[in-house]
Amino acid sequence: NTDVSHPKTTPSTYIVHMAKSQMPASFEHHTHWYDSSLKSVSDSAEMLYTYTSAIHGFSTRLTPEQAASLSSQPGVLSVLPELKYELH
């Protein structure tokens, strides 16, 4: 299927929650660990934001397949799709 809009191949934004306490000692900084986790499922994906105070984790663009794969990585607590909020 070459349809580029096929949902399985279309990237969307996810918020990845990480268990910072589970960071392997081999990483000096949590952002390196986040990046390594991300690169394990996608060579090209980049972090939009890294979060340190509101949550532990980052946001990035992934395909649903990549998101599912990332959610099974060690230290990954959840991979949640971006939601749109509205003004009240």
């Binding site: 934001y49 949550i55 959840s78 749109k84 909020y85 009240h88």
Partner: protein
Amino acid sequence: TTRTPEFLGLGQTTETMPQSDSAGDVIIGVLDTGVWPESKSFDDTGFGPVPSSWNGTCESGTNFNSSNCNRKLIGARYFAKGYEATLGPIEESKESKSPRDDDGHGTHTATTAAGSFVPGASLLGYAPGTARGMAPRARIAAYKVCWVGGCFSSDILAAMDKAIDDNVNVLSMSLGGGNSDYFRDSVAMGAFSAMEKGILISCSAGNAGPSAYSLSNSAPWITTVGAGTLDRDFPAFVSLGNGKNFSGVSLYRDNSNSMPSALTPFIYAGNASNATSGNLCMMGTLSPQQVKGKIVMCDRGVNARVQKGAVVKAAGGLGMVLANTAANGEELVADAHLLPATSVGQRNSDVIKSYLFSDPNPTATILFEGTKVGVQPSPVVAAFSSRGPNSITADILKPDIVAPGVNILAGWSGAVGPTGLAIDARRVAFNIISGTSMSCPHVSGLAALLKGAHPEWSPAAIRSALMTTAYTAYKNGQKLQDVATGKPSTPFDHGAGHVDPISALNPGLVYDLTVDDYLNFLCALNYSASEISTLAKRSYTCDEKKRYSVRDLNYPSFAVNFEGRTTSTNVAKYTRTVTNVGPAGTYKATVTSDNPSVKITVEPNTLSFGQVNEKKAYTVTFSASGSAPVNANSFGRLEWSDGKHVVGSPIAMSWN
């Protein structure tokens, strides 16, 4: 805002409020559409240096640079990476890629919370007075997270992340996104971390009322704010050719005398269109031949109210009568229409329609009466204000409180007219709009006032003070009304009641909460270790031997859920701990309930306090005998009083 300070007992000036030096050290972070820094509401005259605790900055971007901040507007940031990743690059010719507010909403909420005094404020002459925020000495930091295409959770989280690091004291968030478990809701997750840092988070309850279960932002570490009316109105009457007059509201300013004083041909939009939904006055649906030179009656719904007026105007209409339908009932929301127009309630609109359909040559005119204050009863709960029960955690009563949210005047963006329509070339310094977006920053500002007066109080203590001193009856003793029903409102509509800031400054007792209390609450919800870790950013192990209960969360209200289909006695026990924040005294408990079949006992029913910060626990037992219809609700109230302070808690009882 004009009027709301007086309506809330704050008076025209700060002299009526204690203004400690720390009042100027309180920082309110507003997550919204950005800020219009040239608004006079951000005048920093008389402000001291920026608080030393402040870590934030004033970011540059389109039409915005660091010099736009001052000692009042101390920070401004924008977050668009998530938005751009989904919708593509921001079109900088259409919206500023910077903290600048091209929409108006963010300037309105920020100035409502903490705007400086601006004499001579009005919208086109309506709602005149001195405008000010609820905490005029507090500082403001704007975090732009909402853009033309919406507000994305990745950007909202990034803004909350920065606001926490920047050291804001209050976070005001007039936005929401449906209803999901707390560990899936970005606002709830970010708010948990903010709460841990001592930041009070005030969020709008939503505008999905009057339907039940329509709340958003219902996490117990968030202060959830519903909306009520003021004692102010903007009457604009419809006068029909048959001599009858009908009341409505409008913010239209007739500078060009375009509204003929004589009776004008009048037509129902549904009869001036070939479209199936012609009655709604959607774009391109009205027939100019049938509309030209006439006043048109349009039904409310689907498209924006002000856009209906623009559609009528574009088709050659001279005026518009906007008719509420069953969805809105008698709630009237005033708008600064582009043509002479007024909004009427459902009952009036039904009578007007019967005239339109029966008279062969119907005529009408609209008479604008300006601003009227002293309207009673007020406040009434707005029909649009989202309602409980809480669909995520039924045992936590939400909303927490209501505050002014209907026809609120506050600062506005210079980039857009008062209707927000692209064709509206008018520019105003202040605008009048409605929503729980408007009530939320009222509470944010009042929370900042309390923080300034009591810097040592936790976010839970501040919320408790606001809730337990809120009122649920008018001065004549009648209960607060719900405009959606015309009947007394319930705790599912108004929470603890309408905010009363002067009483909140001196609440007597508070229901305090710590981070551990909230973690135990998550255990009571049977959250998994992973879910707790996602939400609370830590490994927290619930004790398998401990019996956790949501009922034990030290919340200043009670949501009691009974099993409906049972003949045995339902018993629900709640433990609470109150902390004395006033003088020594003895408090006695009084319980009122509208359901005599539920026995409510408080043990002990007397609490004596000898010193400040002394804590005392009590238990409330609710015993419901026999069965009750499923989905039945009853309501009550628990009050502790030492004769000077009244510490009230709403009670909502449901049979499920």
